[in-house]
Amino acid sequence: MAAADELAFHEFEEATNLLAQTPNETTTRSDQLSPKGHVAVAMDSGGSYGAEDEVEESDKTMLLQEEKQQPGFWTFGYYQSFFDVDTSQVLDRIKGSLLPRPGHSFVRHQLRNRPDLYGPFWICATLAFVLAITGNLTLLLAQRRDPSIHYSPQFHKVTVASVTIYCYAWLVPLALWGFLRWRKGVRERMGLYTFLETVCVYGYSLFVFIPTVVLWLVPVPWLQWLSGALALALSAAGLVFTLWPVVREDSRLAAGVLLSVVVLLHALLAMGCKFYFFQPLPPEPMASPHQATPPPPATMLPPTLPRSVAA
């Protein structure tokens, strides 16, 4: 319907030259915003870019990213462009990350050339705190069952959790983006995502772990493993479906290795969190540190123990 209009709109400036030179490039499925002004994303099948203002916005974003030098990175307005999202958009992106579909790349269908930093930042913050808090709650619930376990707030786990999650959500996309850029240098037909889009994909893909971590409070082992596996499958599937259009042009070996490494890192993160924050507690009371010090008199014992002192 609007495809013809969009073609007419795009053939306005640079796309005309681009189409003339390399007619095959319009079929590439990437959101490449190189200075050539390649905005032929409308060629995607079933593309829902019907509205013209979307096209204008993608042009505006393209200009913003092209002329990155003018609103310099030291100005506030530069960073404000990364928080230009509404509540409904953030919720839509979260829903899109929860339900990955093959053939629907997150970057293409949800981000649409407008990556934001709000989602990744606050999802990582929430996940870090939820991990530390539910890990501590597990210890509290275990102490209720078995009074010999020593409960403590374990505040250092907040630091560990936040460092881990933030490093994962920012350094791994950096490495991935660097790797993809290098492969693009080798094979020019490959597509490319910008660094922010990669960070966005990773950030939103971590959202599914938040309810999973809360579910891990329930001390039923098979439920914990099942929910962990489900969350990992959804999250990794989202990543793979997003990366597939980009690495498809690369050799089979490189694409396979890249996707397996991505999934493996994700699995490592999930299992590391499970084992570190939800340590399975020993069934017998622990021996060493509580016999050296005199047992704390009242605070640790449950109230149901009979107090022989009471009259």
């Binding site: 506030f76 960073y79 404000q80 990364f82 928080f83 230009d84 999202v85 509404d86 509540t87 409904s88 953030v90 709000y118 930042f121 606050w122 913050a125 929430t126 705190f129 808090i133 501590n136 509290l140 020593h150 409960y151 403590s152 707030p153 374990q154 505040f155 250092h156 540190p289 010090t293 009242a298 605070t299 449950p302 109230p303």
Partner: protein
């Protein structure tokens, strides 16, 4: 006002009147937090003394007494300080980046003053912990912390919500919720050694 009549060499009048004025301003803002109405006092005459007093009080009360096991305990003084101030700065930056029209220090002022209900909850919790421990003890503390947490959120939202464009209010309020939730968690899990 009174400053013009001060005699230059008199230490009592040159320091105590501005001090009383500032203390009164801080007290007035405390009352505004406790009875949140839509008013501009907190925003217009912002100051950071109140948040500093509250933060130091909270950090002192949350600090664990003995250092028997450093790794396993509650937050240290510096950790509470960092969480409160770093959290407030992050939320302020977030709301400014989302397009809010509140100034940096006004937002810090509001967030800092709205810790007052949680500081009161900490006081109550410490008093309750002096009594006999048990599930009733825990339920009382939980109830008090939940009420004060809701009060903090309502108070800060009353001041901050208007400064955001309407389709982004939830995006700006969620970090405030997370911030006060973490502080409430620290208060609730405080165990005296």
């Amino acid at each position: 006002m009174a400053e013009a009549v001060e005699s230059p060499g008199d230490p009592e009048t040159t320091t105590s009147r501005p001090l009383m004025r500032d203390l009164k301003a801080v007290g007035k803002k405390f009352m505004h937090v406790l009875y949140p109405r839509k008013s501009n006092t907190l925003l217009r005459d912002w100051d950071l003394w109140g948040p500093l007093i509250l933060c130091v009080t909270l950090a002192l009360m949350l600090q664990r007494g003995s250092v028997d096991s450093e790794k396993d305990g509650g937050p240290q003084f510096a950790e509470v300080f960092v969480i409160v101030w770093f959290g407030a700065v992050t939320i302020t930056l977030n709301s400014k980046l989302l397009g809010g029209n509140i100034s940096f220090f006004q937002s810090l002022c509001v967030l800092g003053y709205c810790i007052l209900p949680l500081t009161m909850a900490m006081l109550v919790c410490r008093l309750v912990l002096l009594a006999e421990p048990g599930p009733i003890n825990f339920m009382v503390r939980l109830f008090v912390v939940i009420i004060m947490f809701a009060w903090s959120i309502v108070a800060s939202t009353a001041f901050l919500a208007d400064s955001q464009p309407p389709n982004r209010k939830a995006l700006a309020v969620y970090p405030v919720f997370l911030f006060y939730f973490v502080i409430s968690w620290m208060i609730l899990t405080f165990t005296p050694q």
